[in-house]
Chain length 381, copies 2
């Protein structure tokens, strides 16, 4: 079961799982489509309606995908759907996933809190009422950790020394937006539920994902959405659209912000491994899911270089940072769970950018009208 099947990751995961012969039940309230429209933007790659693309996918993958339109903040809906389909695994992507969107104003802040926190609480109560053996794979974010001076553990708890005494505490977090804080609050709530009821969890702290293709997305009919605006686009994808539109690539601030990135293809491989290698019943597994550590300046250089190979002369122009974040910092997160499950990196960023730009180029004319959504309008302060 995939909560948030209409999303950037949800749709490719549905295709991946269906192609491997699993039954896939997807729920979505179509919030991302509406919210992207709300900020005056669109998906850079045209995507079909859910009904249409499920039909196309089911032709290729033998009717394995079932779509349920609905909202997981509706407790009855999530309970009924779980009862009807008794999923082995529930992958939870159904959260508002934009930091800038959560920072627009008080209504976007409270919506993000309510939606993300209560959807997740509904899910764990629904499982508690059904089957605690169901494996919940929850999408968190590396952004829950902030950029601490210690090496970020890959574990829900960590040993510390505080004023001469030792204890085990929840791994320290510091969110950079209301969105990030909802993910921190989720993690705390899920750890509590796990302690009370023994829910079986994989909590994925994922870095920003980039790319247009997976092994299953061969035709444009099966494209997943691709956001590029300042609210919904993440850094790599945004730079690629800036490049094809002849706009400068725009790292925020000094650009020394380091994050852990991975391609859409690698994200799907990692998710598949985690789904197929379930933790022990009642275990809470935390995974740091990223492959390459790069600064946002370094990424701009990569995109510039790869764009040049396709005859595009991209400039780089650092712009005022709308966020409140360190622009030069230590960053060394642990990463052992995925390698221990046999994960092998397929895509390095420098090898993927050309493909992204090629997929975007046919949409250039359509995107010319959306240049005004490239630069941030919401400042954190």
């Amino acid at each position: 079961m995939i909560l948030g099947i209409d999303g950037y990751l949800g749709w490719p995961l549905a295709l991946r799982m269906a192609s491997k012969g699993y039954e896939v039940i997807g729920i979505d309230n179509m919030a991302t489509r509406k919210s992207v429209e709300e900020v005056g933007s669109i998906s850079a790659l045209p995507i079909k309606s859910m009904d249409e693309r499920v039909k196309i996918a089911n032709k290729e993958f033998k009717g394995k995908i079932t779509f349920v339109k609905g909202d997981i903040t509706d407790y009855k809906l999530i309970c009924d759907t779980i009862k009807e389909h008794t999923p082995e695994t529930i992958v939870h992507f159904a959260e508002q996933r934009s930091a800038p969107y959560s920072m627009i104003d008080v209504n976007h802040a409270t919506y993000t809190m309510r939606n993300n926190i209560n959807g997740t609480i509904n899910l764990i109560y629904a499982i508690r009422g059904a089957d605690l053996d169901t494996h919940v794979v929850k999408m968190g974010t590396m952004g829950e950790f902030g950029t601490p001076k210690f090496d970020i553990p890959e574990a829900p708890f960590v040993d510390v020394e505080i004023k001469g005494k030792r204890d085990k505490i929840t791994t320290p977090k510091w969110g950079g937006s209301w969105y990030h804080w909802t993910k921190v609050h989720d993690t705390n709530n899920l750890l509590f539920a796990n302690k009370l009821w023994g829910i079986t969890m994989t909590d994925i702290m994922q870095g920003p994902v980039y790319g247009t293709r997976t092994s299953e997305i061969k035709s444009e009919d099966l494209f997943t959405r691709f956001d590029f605006d300042a609210v919904w686009g993440t850094v790599v994808n945004r730079y690629c659209v800036e490049a094809i539109l002849g706009e400068p690539l725009t790292p925020y601030g000094k650009g020394g912000q380091i994050r852990g990135f991975l391609s859409l293809q690698d994200s799907m491989d990692a998710l598949t491994l985690l789904i197929e290698n379930k933790p022990k019943t009642g275990e809470y597994r935390s995974v740091n899911q990223f492959m390459e550590l790069l600064s946002v300046n370094e990424i701009a250089e990569i995109v510039k270089t790869e764009a040049a190979k396709l005859g595009i002369d991209a400039k780089i122009k650092n712009v005022e940072n709308p966020r409140v974040e360190e622009e030069q910092h230590h960053y060394n997160p642990e990463r052992t769970v995925l390698p221990s499950l046999g994960f092998k990196l397929k895509v390095q960023m420098k090898d993927a950018i050309g493909e992204i730009i090629k997929d975007l180029l046919p949409n250039k004319n359509r995107l010319e009208n959306y240049k005004d959504v490239l630069l941030p309008k919401t400042r954190w302060r």
Copy 2:
């Protein structure tokens, strides 16, 4: 301005501030009255309607109290009220404050999350839009810390060593119920808002409060509510009602759970000091507000002894613990802020129990019908 003026602490604080000559604006949505009724209980001390008791108080305190019926999850209401009255200080008690209530079922869990988190976010946005110099005094709980092996700091951040590296992190927390977790989430959200916007904060980590009287509550007309049932009553007050009803005093589990307690009178003194000694503009001050460290078994012994002096022979009967908590643990929270402001303890628990029991005794017949709400019905697991 007091958010939650109808509550156990809100009402006595309104009287205290009015008696000192401050203008008091109180907001309340009357949720506690409704929620106590929902679980089949009542206030052990009869309380007047808000309109009636404001009228009585205003006779004594020269019309200093203004009551606004409303809900702070309504952003417009909180903004309009702040704009109209431009408070120097906003004391925020307006949260669902019962751990057992939050654990009843999924709807009570999500209600508690939504209500507490979004009310607080509305408040900080309202201040951001009005005056960042406004001092927010927010009621948290010592329960945010759980019962760690280290000495609980009295500070929002603490220096730690993690795997050989040092950093400053948010003081570690572990909530014991959804309610407690909302307070942890609030603290994280408020620290973030403070970093972004410099909101001036006093975050009070208060221990359980007991008692019926303050310097201002001399007549029964001005009583504050007094909850005793398993959902809304806290341990000391609940034991006192058990004693007058001839029911055993019921510590949960082994009864070695240690908490930091203070009397209603001392809570008002502490709040007054914190309100009148505002932190620097933009400062985030954390206060551990409690006076006596006692185990729930020790409290039962105190109540038994004091009841005996009034001719009541109370038995003690440890009952199954509905909660998931340590029943034997280290507990040593720092407490320096209030003493540094000149706080002097007025009431020790052993000296206050007799007065509580005397105030309760005239209500004995009325409370006979409520014996069935004394024992917990919701088990955390």
